[in-house]
Amino acid sequence: MSALDTRSLVVVAAGVSEPSSTRLLADRLAAAVDRHLRDAGIQPRIETIEVRPLAHDLASHVLAGFAPPALQTALDAVQAADGVVAVTPIFSASYSGLFKLFFDLVDRDAFDGKPVLLAATGGTARHSLAIEHAMRPLFAYLKADSMPTGVFAATQDWGTGAVAMEGGLIGRIDRAAKQLAVAMAARPTSAPVDPFADPVPFTDLLPRSS
């Protein structure tokens, strides 16, 4: 890898309380991905998007059909990212409504082949499979390249005992972050196609048939 190699990581954190354990987990994941990218000789550019301040903009976008400026900036950042960490609290056995709304509004092809790390927080470990039965199908629909390791943090996991255990939260964060860093390093960084800068020529739109 050349020393000039860079990758952009966008972390989307959909916690609703302030401070939130969702943001706590998001920051730990971001730091771990940062470390693994640097170890691979890649300069990371990391941006964290909190969904909570965008909540009203999300509703406005759904109803008005366009994104207010702050939301548009966030959606553009996700679209342009080389990799994404998506972190949601688990509500009623699934991702939160705000989290879904955000990903409902990203461009249809924004996630095509994009490496994504799935992570979630919840009160108890009984919610941990929500990553597999709720988040993973959503990102499969978006055609994302979801990392095999999802990271679930229950309240109990923030206690020292769980951290120290083999397979505990710190270990899972490290394993998932390494998977994401490897996938991001392996995929060439590419600017999103701009159909306005480079339109499909009309002769390709109209096959001459007569």
Binding site: L63, P201, F202
Partner: protein
């Protein structure tokens, strides 16, 4: 017409920029009175708006086309033909004609017929329609919206330009030895605009043929408008129709006026808050900041509208949405008077004063329309390549 060019820049041999109104024909409950008008009343309201447009000196009336409630205008040429008989000068147009779900053969014949009845005062704006079920109701698939718009329009052009057409395509039965009737008035097909909010293929299509491009410019931030018009202009030049700044651009606009801007906001707010498109999405104030909508004094409307040319360049047609969201007819007609009396004289003068040399002031109209206005006919653009 208002002031002529007063020697500002070289004469293009054309009229001044065109101003008018367009209607979508929604039947919406008036949130202030609580009343919902009948279909008959709504249709007569649309006609009243058109007649008012001619009376106060607006240039254009354009009707929408819809095939789903709560919209009434399913048959635009029936309405425009009726209006043509009651007017002398008004240019009749559409906003938009559904090029996806209508048979292009029927469009060719309906609008050529209208040309003959209206003395050439006809142009059209092509649109795809955004109501999903309308496609299957008319035997089409919304996933083919862009290919339908492309194929159908190409056939429509040929039907107006070639006396005998042999044609085969994907979406309709082939034609052998077909002549669309009547032929376009004086052999000059109606001028066509292509309308689209954010589909680059439609800007490309308009540019390829050297047709006009219209952005509705309401309900959206100006960035959407800007990038579509920029693409259209760049490709217009690419296809050899002339410099990018001479491409033919039209914009919509969304205004409500009172002498005191706070009065305008207070009176319009219930209509904004309950409107079908944006009702409940955000505050009127935020919406005005994020989109070109202007609710305020006539001077604010003048300033904002003149500002449009800063993000799309000099353009040729400005239409304002007139009757919608349940606004009662007397208020709509009063708004049109304010527009004609207090806003348009300034806009007509200032747009021409700012217009770059060599940029046409208006779209290419039918020669008879120009002759009636004492102007020499302009040459209509021809498409790129051999497919003239």
């Amino acid at each position: 017409m208002a002031d002529k060019k007063d020697g500002l820049g070289p004469s293009t041999g054309r009229n001044d920029m065109q101003f008018g109104v367009f209607t979508v024909g929604d039947v919406t409950r008036d949130p202030v009175s609580g009343e919902t008008v009948s279909e008959e009343t709504r249709i007569q309201t649309m006609v009243a708006v058109a007649l008012k447009a001619e009376e106060v000196g607006l240039d254009v009336f354009a009707t929408g086309e819809h095939h789903n409630v709560p919209f009434v205008p399913s048959s635009p040429t029936t309405m425009l033909g009726y209006i043509a008989a009651k007017t002398e000068r008004l240019q009749l147009s559409t906003a938009t004609t559904l090029i996806t779900t209508n048979d292009p053969v029927k469009i060719a014949e309906d609008y050529a017929m209208l040309q003959h009845l209206a003395g050439g005062r006809v142009d059209l704006m092509m649109g795809r329609g955004n109501m999903g079920p309308v496609y299957p109701w008319f035997g089409q698939d919304i996933r083919n919206a862009v290919p339908l718009a492309v194929e159908n329009y190409d056939l429509l052009r040929r039907l107006w330009r070639e006396d005998v057409v042999d044609w085969q395509g994907t979406f309709r039965t082939p034609l052998n030895g077909f002549t669309a009737t009547p032929r376009p008035l004086d052999g000059v097909p109606p001028f066509v605009w292509h309308g689209s909010i954010r589909t680059p293929e439609i800007a490309e299509q308009a540019a390829y043929y050297g047709d006009g491009f219209f952005h509705n410019n309401i309900f959206w931030p100006k960035e959407h408008v800007q990038r579509m018009v920029e693409l259209y202009r760049r490709r217009f030049e690419h296809y050899g129709h002339g410099p990018a700044n001479t491409a033919i651009v039209g914009l919509g606009g969304h205004v409500f006026m009172r002498k005191n801007s706070q009065d305008a906001i207070r009176e319009f707010r219930p209509y904004f808050d309950h409107a079908p498109v944006y009702g409940g999405s955000m505050s009127l104030e935020d919406y005005m900041e994020m989109t070109p909508m202007t609710i305020g004094s006539p001077q604010q409307v003048i300033d904002r509208t003149l500002g449009f040319r800063e993000f799309v360049g000099d353009y040729q047609r400005q239409l304002f949405i007139a009757d919608h969201a349940g606004l009662p007819l007397p208020i709509v007609l009063e708004q049109m008077e304010i527009l004609a009396d207090e806003v348009l004289p300034v806009l007509r003068r200032e747009f021409e004063a700012r217009r770059a040399p060599g940029v046409p002031s208006d779209p290419p109209l039918h020669p008879r329309v120009l002759a009636a206005r004492g102007e020499a006919p302009a040459t209509m653009a021809e498409p790129a390549g051999a497919h003239a």
